[in-house]
Amino acid sequence: MTEKYRYRQYRDGDAAAINDLYADITGRTRSLREFDWQWLHAPGGRGEIWLIEATNKDGATDLIGHHGIMPIRFSRGEENLLFGKTENTMLRPEYRKRILYPRYERRFARVYEPRFDALFSTVGPAAAIRLRRAMGYTFSSKWVRLQIPTSWAAEMVFAYCICRDKLVDRERRCRGSSGGPESGSLARPGCGPLELRALNDSQARCDPFFDAFWPQCRVGHGLTPRRDREDLDWRFWSNPNTSNITLVSDERSDEPGYVIIRRSNSRPEEAVIEDIVPCNADAEKFYRLLDSALSWMRSNKIYWAGFTTTHESCASNGIAAGITGRDLLFRTVVRKIRNDPVSYMPRKITATGSSKGLDLHNWYVTPLVFEGRAS
């Protein structure tokens, strides 16, 4: 044996070596600014950064492994929660048969788990999935990745989903075309797209819409990431990796909501819906907001909108239920982004979260929970 292994937590000055490890293993470069943003300055506090080092017989020490947990603030109604997202779990290939990485993560987890109510991961290679299982994560929530053609889906979504059961009603009320006692009720709330304002990141960062949005709306939402201004600012508007367009409902609207989209640099006719939140956690409100965003995109020459969420029954907040409950529709108007095999969002409720009665299910998840790196 020529080397000794030890582990420790992050210290100031480690960032450059971590970025080098990250580049060697993933092939991606990350600047110190991006590191600071991702790991040190999140609203949930500094990330959990654990390092494994090898010291050779000459006393030289190399960073050979890293395991991180990004703190993501969640809420359940008025209750604040802190979740952790596993990120950058990596070990230099030449050490994968020399140390037992899972041993290290178990030790790290013993230290960091009490800080978090739940842990989750997004997706990863088969080996990462096996590791998550071994660490006690549950695989029951499937990812759903949709790509929605804005050019004609929006009207179908609106007509078929929102007013699905009352299509005739909608014709009468919204268009006044069928006569009868309700004819001409054009002002009926819930008809037609919302007026949306488009903000760039600088504008969104200061827009008064977000002063009150989440403080007022969170009570109606179940388990979901927090959307206070500082959460959105960190994840989107001050994110050094991306630039976004934030669509907010008009201040006169009785259905406040916002949608954050990121337009593809290489294919400007495509965009990703990074987050979409109506104030009222309700499937109809969700679809009206989605419809409005699709309409905005269409008029701005964006013809495909990608959206990722999880396929789970979300009776507690209604939003994901709205999407998953209408699979029949989506099968006809969307195509899956990839023909991947089924992938799951691994989740683990910690002892801290268990004491609060947290559930593995009924989360409303959007790409807000992703790493935040431009893909």
């Binding site: 292994y5 140390i99 037992l100 990485y101 041993r103 080996a127 096996r130 071994a134």
Partner: protein, 78 residues
């Protein structure tokens, strides 16, 4: 005392996909048999539980065959 058979049984019971039929060659490196570090981790979790002996991280690198594991635990008194 921990026997080679017990080590082999621990490997097979851990559910790992060993690309050798039992009996597992006692001098064959685990990783050459297609195991990964998670498989080996699970084996050591079981062996440590069975013997009550904790194997330091720095010793694991040399414990990659049934023979070497057997000799190691024997030297530790198990």
């Amino acid at each position: 005392m921990l026997s080679k058979t017990q080590i082999e049984e621990t490997m097979l019971n851990s559910g790992m996909a060993v690309d050798s039929q039992p009996p597992i060659p006692t001098d064959r490196n685990f990783y050459e048999m297609g195991l990964d570090s998670l498989d080996v981790f699970n084996v050591f979790v079981e062996l440590e539980s069975l013997t009550g002996i904790q194997v330091p991280d720095d010793d694991l690198e040399k414990l990659q065959t049934i023979d070497s594991i057997h000799a190691y635990f024997a030297a530790k008194g198990s």
